[in-house]
Point group: C2
Chain length 186, copies 2
DNA sequence: ATGTTTATTATGTCTATACAAAACAGCCTG
DNA sequence: CAGGCTGTTTTGTATAGACATAATAAACAT
């Protein structure tokens, strides 16, 4: 009884063993299904999974080949900061550092890809047991904010958005900077 | 003709419209399949996909509920730095800053979870059109290095590993620091 | 030689059915 | 009442067969 995870493991093993080298075309689903003694759908599931992970590249008619540059995709957990801190057994707190209306600077506009005029600018310091943990800096479109506005001194913009917007398809990008200047003070 | 992506979209819409609020139990696959006029497998595909994205939480017997803290997972592309730089239309280069054998410091050991004795320590500076782009700092287990060792002045450890190891299941963690000290000099 | 149509092929998806596995509820027994 | 057995429910996975779709190759016409 071979399940799709067994097939995935076997395929992975063959890639690692260079039986199917990087960039090479591997047999079609039908052939593999026959070889492993399973239905084509099972092979499909396994190969699709590997394609999603970036190990394989699949194209209709062209077939399936081992990715030339593998290990390219991974699941990323986007933490809700409060949950993250509480999971460490620490006490969560937040401090609203800034809340004002203004036009976002050019780099932010560029990343948004559109200009909706004045936006709400929030800067929040998240605390783990009193110590500074991370600073959240966020620009919100005022047009989508409800009236009255949520109390961002009690719930972080991150968490409020997550609860309201619930889910979005799209790109997420992030950048890291270390604390400097006003952040270090805080 | 409803495909699984349509089902996914419909479910997502209902979550956003609060027809199924955060944390609520939604109907079983069979019921949804009946309502949408598709096979259960199609509903299963859609719901599984949403569960993978972190929007839903599914448990056998317990059923499917809307995640209390959604938007938690996303696909992360792990760039091969060379490809990343070349995709920007810049010229790639690398400079080997350090190559030596030694025992890793405690924080590194802690993250590895095991101690394999002396390890190979590499520090590589990746250049985009001559400018410093990113510094790679890596500890390799000497036991798994081939003899002769690859020429790390020509190919980065990152890329060599990716090509050799090909694929790994496991956790990936990363940390960011800004340039300071010797890195700034470089 | 060039552009267009037509076949071919491999993956993508859907259906219906079946059984497996997890998780919980309730019952029975000591 | 603790502990274990037994069912029931819901998701998870497998199957065979079918059709859809994308992408290429071959045939054809201009």
């Amino acid at each position: 009884m071979a399940g799709w995870e067994d097939i995935r493991a076997e395929v992975l093993a063959r890639i690692r063993a260079r039986i199917w080298p990087l960039g090479a075309l591997i047999p079609g689903e039908e052939a593999l299904a026959l070889e492993f003694g399973v239905a084509r759908a099972t092979v499909n599931r396994a190969l699709s999974e590997l394609a999603r992970a970036g190990v394989l590249e699949r194209k209709r008619k062209a077939g399936t080949r081992v990715a030339a540059l593998p290990v390219r995709k991974a699941m990323l957990d986007i933490p809700v900061i409060r949950a993250e801190i509480e999971a460490r057994g620490e006490v969560y707190g937040l401090r609203l550092l800034r809340l004002e209306v203004g036009r976002p600077p050019v780099p932010v506009l560029a990343r948004l890809g559109q200009d909706v005029g004045e936006m709400m600018h929030l800067r929040t310091l998240h605390l783990a047991s009193g110590r500074g943990f991370v600073v959240e800096d966020r620009w919100l479109n005022r047009a989508v904010l409800p009236d009255p506005m949520p109390d961002f001194a009690a719930i972080s913009a991150n968490e409020w958005l997550v609860a309201q917007v619930s889910f979005a398809m799209g790109d997420i990008s992030f950048a890291a900077e270390s604390a400097a200047g006003w952040e270090a003070e805080a």
